[in-house]
């Protein structure tokens, strides 16, 4: 069995202070403002500045940890459940219960997220590794209890290779993340009075309607169509950036990360 990050026994490191500072970064070729936590640590090599929002929360103690747990459950439940539902582990129980069991066993562990930070993995990779390990633990536990209703899981090898699982989970996570970012951006557009801009963005990028077609359908000029779509597109971009940074990507990695996710989503 391959070693998962959860096997690391390094002592947990705690961020001692953080203050979110506004910064701008070149993201997808344009400057956007991002919240960059300024953090001091006990160890110089600790890559805290690369872990954004989650690290800032960790430094805030119990309240911060509760916010992290909520965020992780809210963001990663769906792709983890979808992963189980599409894997041979589904015979072990309901996807929802398995994911809940995983969160219950891991999120309560002292130093769980500090170990993630040390791993330098994207959060989704850390979670899927841990989830696979949890599922294997569950398999062993059930077998020990002599429950023999596990027809699809061999005792000799894991039910799926880690590489396949990571690829499959990347695909599910990417779809879930983009959906979530689109929802956030749509909501923001509506709040700021740009609901029509978002509709045009959707018609253009999802529906494939040209700018010329948009100008006719929405009774605007071609230039206005370009400007309005751009207004929504900037909000969508910012929503994606926020979620990628929360998953642990650095500003420098964002373009590469989007390319990777596009590759994962291709049929």
């Amino acid at each position: 069995m391959s070693t998962t990050p959860e096997h690391n026994s390094n002592s947990s490191q705690r961020a001692t202070a953080s203050a979110a500072a506004s910064a701008s970064a070149q993201v997808f070729g344009e400057t956007v403002s991002v919240a960059t936590p300024r953090v001091t640590t006990k160890r110089d090599s600790f890559p805290l500045t690369q872990r954004g929002w989650l690290v800032a929360q960790l430094a805030q103690g119990t309240d911060g940890l509760a916010r992290i747990n909520n965020y992780v459950m809210e963001t990663y439940s769906e792709p983890l459940s979808n992963y189980v539902a599409g894997s041979s582990f589904r015979s072990m129980g309901s996807a929802k219960d398995l994911v809940s069991g995983f969160f219950a066993s891991r999120l309560s562990q002292l130093g769980y997220f500090e170990r993630w930070i040390e791993s330098e993995l994207p959060l989704r990779r850390w979670l899927i590794n841990g989830f696979l390990f949890h599922l294997q633990e569950e398999t062993r536990r059930i077998r020990t209890e002599r429950v023999d209703a596990l027809p699809t899981i061999s005792s000799a090898e894991p039910a799926t290779s880690e590489h396949d699982a990571v690829e499959q989970f990347d695909r599910l996570w990417a779809a879930s993340m983009v959906r979530s970012a689109a929802g956030n951006a749509r909501e923001r557009c509506a709040t700021e009075g740009f609901a029509m801009h978002w509709d045009m963005f959707e018609r253009h990028f999802i529906g494939g309607l040209s700018y010329s077609g948009l100008s006719q359908e929405f009774t605007v000029t071609g230039g206005q169509a370009a400007s309005m779509v751009r207004t929504a597109s900037i909000r969508f971009r910012q929503a994606v950036v926020d979620l990628l940074l929360r998953d642990g990507a650095t500003e420098d990695e964002l373009d590469e990360e989007v390319t990777r996710l596009m590759r994962a989503l291709r049929p």
């Binding site: 689109a182 010329s212 100008s215 071609g222 370009a226 400007s227 751009r230 969508f236 291709r266």
Partner: protein, 150 residues
Amino acid sequence: MSTLDEKFSPLRLLAALIDETDPVLVRLVDRARRVDGLLPTRAALEAGPLSVAGDTVELFYLGAASDEDYLHAQTACEAMCAFGTTAERELATLSLAVLEASSIVYRQRFIVSRTTVEADARLASAAAASIAPWQRLVASAMRATMRISA
């Protein structure tokens, strides 16, 4: 109307993050959108790289240009895009989009765009960043592009 989830394509949305057209034009669109910066003026456009072929308005707005004039102006725009200052590159990129519009209207032919989608995005950006009377030419080109692709 269907919900976002029902009609949703994550891949298409993610592809929206990659700008469809020249980043310099996108920068101009952003400036026009925010109304907080200078855009190339009509005078600059008409005296810029398009003018190497002769009277810009007569040739490219009124449609008197020959194929050779288009080629000459295109070469001048591309040279300025490659070697100019930031402001010159912006002027040259906008000029190229205007030249594209003129070519579509008067020759039914693209100059720099490879597809109608690319041309549509380029023209829409140019329409946002240019001023009358060139905006009208670009708007005509957008309609003509739709007819070409239909």
